[in-house]
Every structure is written in structure tokens, then in C-alpha cells.
Amino acid sequence: MTFLSKLGTNFNYVISTLLFVIGLYTIITKPNLIKKFMGLNIMETSVFLAIVSIGAVRDGKAPIVESATKVQYVNPLPQALILTGIVVAVSTTALALSLMIKLYEQCGTLNADKLKEFE
């Protein structure tokens, strides 16, 4: 198989790595803390996409067993793991945003470069 056809089959991973790079770029270049955190959330999403894609099975059904007949199911394990991951991501986002609200009340800015002046 050629390089490009492999990339075509692994299309989800291609998009996932692209999202990861976009998130990293946002974290490095944007001075605003909220935008930095948005970048972190994009990176989290990219990891979720990658891990859920690992469990994909071609023509697989959702892993809900209705009858005893043998059917090809999708891998349920990554889905369960990502469910955990999403909740943890929500929790970290809530905590970080509340810290930012407090920071803005104290310093009046969320610009990382200007925040260096506050000691």
C-alpha cells in the first residue's frame, strides 16, 4: 500500500493529528489565557478522536447486544475510556475558567505577557 492510500484509510488519525497541532499552535502563540485554554481543549478533543477511532470496526454495529446471534460489534473499550476522559476534561475546564475569573478580578487582564508584570 502506498503512503497516501494508507493516510486515506487512517483519515481520522490524520484529522486528529492536525487538530493536535492546531491546539499546540494556539497554546504557544496566543497571549490570552482563555485562548490558550481553548487550544488545550482542542488538543484534548484530538486525543479523544484518535482513541475512539482506534476502536472503529468497518461495518461494525454499536456495542449493544440484542440477540445471541454473532454480529460484528464496534470495540466498546475506547468508548468507555473516552466517556471518562470527557468528564475529566469538563472538570479541568471548569476549574481553570474559575481560576481565570478570579485572576481577571485581581489583575484586570488575562494577557499572559502583561501578567508577568504582576508579582
Binding site: 487512517n10 447486544v65 472538570s91 474559575s98
Partner: protein, 248 residues
């Protein structure tokens, strides 16, 4: 070096990173292949015996609540801890002293928005209840239903303001409900310990086959309801703590 040049430099480095990633992606096992190593290791056992051992036709629910019950109890603790952290930083809202940005905004909420939200909120909560209760036989479950409930409460707060919403969800109701997930999990886990079994065992011997199944199902439903209610109320509480503005 000024900012713009710096950003271009970062962009080039990132594109190089992506190129490296692409070579790694091309070497990964092909997506969708049933013979992949990720699909052949533990998963066949889950799919074959999941209904019998896990106790739910929805294998994902079986994994979350039974095979990886400790993981989920930790996760439930994580959202509870996040709420504690948010409240430690921001304090709870005080109905007498605080207002939300919706109430002090000079622009009034349009009639269309208020009508639609008023009409949809009960329906959304009904759907969330369906999702929580049917988590073990269809897609859904406690966390998903809880997130939908939280979303509908947040939408209500955004249109009618913090005051109107928090009068409906009083602190005296919310404080016990926020911890319901952790409590439901620990309570259902402790049931097995009274019979001399390890924590979080749901299949309790000494009863008939059908009674056993019934007890396991009841424990699952208790956990799902606990998780759903707690997730929804925790989201609402976090949003209320963030959305308040003290009245000067």
C-alpha cells in the same frame, strides 16, 4: 524578533510536527480492521460475556459500571472535586446579594428566545430522564443524561437570569443532590460487603438466578440515577458560581 515573525516560525515548526505525525499515522494499524491488536485482546471477552458478567445489554455501560467500576467511582469523585475547587475559588452564589449578567444587561431577552426555552426545557429534561433510565439497554447513561440536564438548566439561566433559576433549584435542594453520585456509588458498592464480597461486586450469591439479576439491575439504576442527577446539578452549580456578578 517581533511577534509576527515568531508566529510564522512556530507555524513552520508545527507543520513539521504534523509531517512527522503523518509518517507515524501511515505506520499505524489500518482503521476499521477487525483483526487489529486493539480489537483482539480483551474486547472479545467483553463482547461475548459482557451481558452475562457486566449485567447490561449495552456493553459500554457494563464496562463503565462493572468491569471498570473503580475507574468510574474515581471519575465521579473527580467532578465532585472540580465543583469543590470551583466553589473554593469563586464562592457560591447568594440570591440576595448577587445578580447575573443577564439581569443587568441593557438588552432585553427577545420573546422568541424566552418562548422557545420555556417550551423546550421540560422536553429536554424528559429526554434526559429517558437517557438516564435507559442507559443499560440503549445508547446513553448517567453522564450523558446529566450533561443534557445541566445544559437545559444553563439555557434556562441564560434566558431568565440567575435569580429565577436558582429560586427553582434552591441551595437546600442542590447541596445534597450534588453528592448523590458519590454516595450512590459507595452505597451500591457497600451492599456486596455485607455479604462478605469485595467492594463493587454487583452479583450477590445466595439468591435465585432471577433475584440476583434483579438486584444487580436495581443497583445499576440507583448508580445511573445518582450520576445523572449529580452531573446535572453540579454543572448548574458551577455555572451559577461563574455567572454571578455581585451587586455593588
Amino acid at each position: 524578533m517581533n511577534k509576527k515573525v515568531q508566529n510564522y516560525f512556530v507555524l513552520i515548526v508545527m507543520l513539521l510536527c504534523w509531517a512527522v505525525f503523518l509518517f507515524a499515522v501511515a505506520e499505524m494499524p489500518l482503521m476499521g480492521d477487525p483483526g487489529n491488536i486493539t480489537n483482539t485482546h480483551v474486547v472479545p471477552r467483553y463482547l461475548e460475556k459482557g451481558v452475562e458478567e457486566g449485567g447490561a445489554p449495552n456493553i459500554v455501560t457494563g464496562i463503565i459500571l462493572n468491569y471498570r467500576g473503580y475507574d468510574t467511582s474515581g471519575e465521579v469523585t473527580v467532578i465532585f472535586t472540580a465543583l469543590i475547587g470551583v466553589l473554593a475559588v469563586l464562592k457560591r452564589e447568594n440570591i440576595k446579594k448577587d445578580k447575573s449578567l443577564v439581569e443587568i444587561s441593557p438588552v432585553k431577552t427577545s420573546v422568541i428566545v424566552t418562548t422557545v426555552v420555556k417550551f423546550l426545557t421540560p422536553l429536554i429534561i424528559l429526554f434526559a430522564i429517558y437517557m438516564i433510565l435507559h442507559g443499560d439497554v440503549s445508547p446513553g447513561g448517567g453522564f450523558q443524561g446529566g450533561a443534557i440536564t445541566g445544559g437545559s438548566i444553563i439555557a434556562f439561566t441564560l434566558t431568565f437570569g440567575l435569580l429565577a433559576t436558582m429560586r427553582k433549584f434552591r441551595l437546600s435542594i442542590r447541596i445534597p443532590l450534588e453528592s448523590s453520585a458519590v454516595l450512590a456509588f459507595i452505597a451500591s458498592g457497600l451492599v456486596a460487603m455485607f455479604f462478605g464480597l469485595p467492594f463493587l461486586t454487583f452479583l450477590i450469591p445466595g439468591f435465585g438466578f432471577h433475584t440476583q439479576e434483579l438486584i444487580r439491575h436495581a443497583l445499576f439504576i440507583i448508580i445511573e440515577i445518582g450520576i445523572g442527577v449529580a452531573t446535572g446539578i453540579i454543572f448548574a452549580s458551577i455555572f451559577a458560581a461563574m455567572g454571578k456578578v455581585s451587586k455593588e
